[in-house]
Symmetry: C2
Subunit: 329 residues, 2 copies
């Protein structure tokens, strides 16, 4: 590897001069030209490690995601990437594969890497998570879940659930099937559902059947195949767009028509909902903006500025073809 010493030696100057050349200036035109040429020739690039070591600043931000193949995660990531670059930071992305052990590991790894802050896509949050995070002393920002004493940025999941509930009731539906996800994910598994339930329950004669899937399409598809024939629901609420796409597919494969036999909706606002037939009604979340906000907020945290503990992102009901009036009342 070519180092600053090699450059200095070859140019016949002190390495401090080369360093000055690389940074602020105060180098004569003559020396400048000499160094220029040698760097060009050798293809020298300064070692960022050595730099960071002295500067006590790594300019790196860590991101921890639960899995790589999630549309929502990737949209947030795009936002993070954009803002990160804009603010002059470098991203280190680690994947935990939805595995708690690997999350702990990754928190450690990022700490060793001396990233200046970490954005973590939270799923299930155990006390051990909170503990590990606090021990690092590194600024942390959770995305998607809130936790005592740690800054976070979340969706208004309860409100999103309520929007769907209210909308479905307005359409005249009274019998619902809720395809949910495990409660370990509080935001999606509990709050989103609760918002829906609270909007629907007060209405006379309403019923809600519940089944639980995970976040994968295969699981939702299987559950739907088994459950659709025996439900009395006229409206199927899916906890995510992915689940909705899978349930739609299952319904079609069983010979049902959407929205004639069932109305159907998801949450998220993924592109996929617009490229199936019928297009799926959903609540659209501002993923990209969330990524932008997350980085801005983290950077303020790094700079030890005052930042509100919890930020919430809004969302918006998007009515598509998969939902219709229940006119057989």
């Amino acid at each position: 590897m070519v180092t600053i010493n090699d450059i200095a030696k070859e140019a016949g100057v002190a390495k401090s001069t080369v360093s000055r050349y690389l940074n602020n200036g105060s180098v004569s035109a003559d020396t400048r030209r000499k160094i220029d040429k040698i760097i060009e020739k050798t293809g020298y690039t300064p070692n960022n490690f050595a730099r960071s070591l002295k500067a006590q600043k790594t300019n790196m931000i860590g991101v921890m995601i639960p899995r790589l193949n999630s549309a929502s995660t990737n949209e947030v990531l795009e936002g993070i990437d954009e803002m990160t670059r804009k603010l002059g930071y470098q991203l280190i992305i680690t994947n935990s594969d939805q595995n708690n052990e690997r999350e702990f590991e990754n928190i450690q790894t990022l700490a060793k890497q001396k990233v200046e802050g970490v954005i973590m896509f939270a799923r299930e949050l155990t006390p051990e998570h909170i503990d590990t995070v606090k021990k690092t002393g590194t600024p942390f920002l959770f995305i998607g879940q809130k936790a005592e004493g740690i800054h976070s940025i979340i969706h208004q999941d309860y409100q999103a659930g309520a929007k769907i509930g209210t909308y479905a009731i307005e359409l005249g539906h009274r019998h619902f099937l809720y395809v949910g996800v495990p409660e370990k994910d509080r935001a999606v598994g509990v709050e989103r559902r609760q918002g829906f339930l609270d909007a629907v329950r007060p209405v006379n004669g309403s019923t809600v059947e519940k089944i639980e899937s995970d976040f994968s399409r295969t699981s939702a598809y299987q559950k739907a195949l088994a459950f659709l024939p025996k439900t009395e629901a006229t409206y199927i609420v899916c906890a995510t767009d992915n689940i909705a796409v899978a349930v739609l597919k299952a319904a079609k494969d069983l010979g049902y028509s959407i929205p004639e036999d069932f109305s159907l909706s998801g949450f998220g606002g993924y592109e996929a909902t617009a490229y199936v037939s019928p297009t799926i009604t959903t609540v659209s979340y501002p993923y990209r903006e969330m990524g932008l906000e997350a980085v801005k907020k983290l950077v303020r945290l790094i700079g030890k500025e005052e930042v509100p503990n919890i930020s919430e992102m809004g969302n918006e009901l998007v009515i598509n073809q998969s939902t219709a009036y229940f006119d057989k009342i």
Copy 2:
């Protein structure tokens, strides 16, 4: 920040002792206990930079992707992530947003970061790319495209195209519409198409109309809306699954039935093709395996082992519901 010096001072030992404690051993049980306690108390984590600086080894691998919201990229990334972790490396992911300038920038950034090797998802490859890469002196591996003098791992795109061509001819189709992507992406834009054309052209009376989209669904959807009504084709070949999903949607919106009015196929084997109706015939690519292979190959390159210049991954025709015999001959 807590450093090894702080630990040493507090324990009343030399920092070399603490270092030995952290690494190989040769520390008395007594001292070990003392240091143990202090590290626990202070939450000390060794600074990887300082370590790398001395060790001349960063244990980092850089990955450069063109965009974050691509299903195929993410599947390859999963494979990369898995193998990377297995072999004890740390991933730095940079996104170039399909922008050449940013690719050059990122190559520089990764070089400064002193990653031990880089896996780059190649799109358009200009001489400047090759040049920039070679100048870094860092081991590089291209995914998806080959380039003179740089190692790469690619799909058998020509063969994949030929598979679709042969299959469509067997079904009795003679008139084709090829929805392609720009030729700047040689693998997808040229070779995949050429494989198809070479399989189809020799057949008597066959015709191929061509339109060009980009990799986005919106673009493909718009083009299809305009073009489907006037084509004489009975089989639509889409250069990617994403395009196929969009064309399917457009066809439905125009009132066509698939495969009754048109047969339709894609390339890639994304999950999405299985969750639309009808399911889409495609060629399935081993993305995850490609990621695994890529890291293995790169690590061999880093270790200066002999590695074949180009590795090819196979692929497999997956027949689904979107293609049918053309029986009106």
